[in-house]
């Protein structure tokens, strides 16, 4: 059921915009109200004083600028700190845009991972095939945009190895993840190729539990938590910018650590 619900790429932008338009309005209104109320402050930033939409556009363009700054700051060889087993946070927090009981139920026998876009081999992957790939383990800190952090242990395949296996065009700009919980996010290629970026199948020596993203998530210790998609169903390599779920609401796209 979830396999079929994956959004086809052509429509993703439209769907996202529609979703944002529907779900975002209360928050957006509050945001704009505040922006207008603080009109007297906005003279500093050079936008129209009373035009809330203009303040929003100005902030979004600074956020885009911050994407470029962070891409420059990103050192592909700099590793996120790793911790001893004793530092692991247990229980590890659950966080999503839905409650824990709404996490998708995925039948492992039925599951397949789709590869689309700029890759030579686009055959779907079964879990059995994915589990057979060489794996590594990391104990790293997951940092949430909300301000909390937790140390966890994740095991899976190095994402750069996976990209090599599917013959991905690593000169492409983005990798987009479409998920079976209807989440979507995209990352820059340098981060996709970072040695700690991992296609994760195990958490704390157990099969990745449903609440943490069964059957697989992408673990990126060099980015904020919301850039670590769970329940991944499709991986697309391409040059078209697809943004993401939270990014549509205003979270910074790069969100590097």
């Amino acid at each position: 059921m979830f396999g079929k619900s994956r959004a086809p790429h052509k429509d993703t932008g439209v769907i996202l915009r529609e979703t944002a338009g529907r779900l975002d309005m209360p928050a957006r209104r509050v945001f704009l109200r505040n922006a207008i109320g603080l009109g007297s402050l906005t003279f500093l930033t050079g936008c129209d004083v009373v035009d809330g939409f203009s303040a929003e556009r100005m902030l979004q363009s600074v956020s885009d600028f911050n994407d470029r700054v962070q891409a420059l700051l990103f050192d592909p060889n700099k590793l996120a700190p790793e911790y001893p087993e004793s530092a692991i946070t247990r229980p590890f927090p659950f966080n999503a845009f839905y409650s824990e009981d709404k996490a998708p139920v995925i039948d492992p026998g039925d599951f397949h991972l789709d590869v689309t876009g700029l890759a030579e081999t686009k055959k779907p992957w079964t879990l059995e095939e994915l589990y057979a790939l060489p794996r590594f383990t990391q104990i790293t800190r997951h940092i949430c945009i909300e301000g909390w952090s937790a140390i966890g242990k994740w095991t899976g395949v190095r994402f750069s190895d996976f990209l090599t296996r599917i013959g991905a065009d690593t000169s492409a700009k983005y990798v987009t993840f479409r998920c079976d919980d209807n989440y979507i996010t995209s990352i820059d290629m340098p981060t996709a190729l970072h040695p700690q970026t991992q296609l994760t199948f195990w958490f704390d020596d157990q099969l990745l539990p449903r609440k943490y993203g069964f059957p697989m998530k992408l673990r990126i210790p060099t980015k904020l938590g919301f850039k670590n998609p769970k329940h991944i169903g499709e991986i697309e390599i391409g040059n078209e910018f697809n943004g993401g779920y939270w990014e549509t609401y205003g979270y910074n796209w790069f969100s590097g650590l």
Binding site: A35, L44, L59, K78, L79, A80, P81, E146, P221, L257
Partner: protein
């Protein structure tokens, strides 16, 4: 010839009044003020997403409407604060202004001056010389500002700038210190605004320079 009013001093009289705050100090002071207020308000909204305090900051003190909007304000105003703050601090050190105006710092002198101020015996006649309370608080807020910026960088980039994050302990501790530095600046701001309004000529000096 009639007596010149305060606002309409003839040019030669004006020139004899010493310049208390050079233009670069006045410009960066006001830009810093606005940037810091935006940083505090958006920061409090970010705080509310995962409160450090046992309560959430009231809505009237926050900016951005929700976490996403607040982070956009925070990561926009940080460039303004870093540029203007760095200019202000660099000028203060290189010109010798900080050394001249803020030293020496003495807690006992500050306590004595604070008592004098509370009993109405502390004079603000010469605005170019700071009393011991001012020296302590102005130095303190500059230090708090530097700590806020450094811990801010430490929690913004805990991987790329991990040495800095480690210097403050870890991500969680750096975040708490960031919050405490904000509290210090917040308290300073409250007192500073009250004092500037209580001694209007000090406010005028930060606008006109004299």
């Amino acid at each position: 010839m009639s007596m010149p009013s305060v606002v309409l001093l003839p040019p030669h009289a004006n020139a004899r009044q010493p310049l208390i705050h050079p233009l670069i100090v006045r410009i960066t002071h006001w830009i810093n003020a606005v940037a810091i207020i935006v940083m505090i308000m958006s920061g409090l909204e970010i705080h509310n997403a995962y409160p450090t305090l046992p309560f959430k900051a009231p809505r009237m003190l926050t900016l951005g409407g929700w976490l996403g909007g607040a982070t956009q304000w925070h990561f926009a105003a940080m460039w303004v604060l870093m540029t203007s703050g760095l200019t202000y601090v660099t000028y203060g050190f290189i010109s010798g202004r900080f050394k001249r105006k803020l030293l020496p710092i003495s807690l006992s002198e500050a306590a004595a001056d604070a008592r004098a101020a509370l009993s109405g015996r502390l004079s603000h006649d010469d605005l170019s010389i700071y009393n011991a309370v001012q020296r302590l608080l102005y130095s303190g807020v500059i230090l708090a500002g530097i700590v806020a910026v450094l811990t801010g960088l430490a929690i913004w980039k805990p991987v790329q700038l991990q040495t800095l994050t480690l210097f403050f302990g870890d991500f969680g501790r750096a975040r708490i210190i960031h919050f405490l530095a904000m509290c210090a600046i917040f308290l300073f701001l409250a007192l500073h605004v009250v004092m500037a309004l209580a001694v209007p000529k000090s406010l005028r000096a930060m606008i006109r320079g004299r």
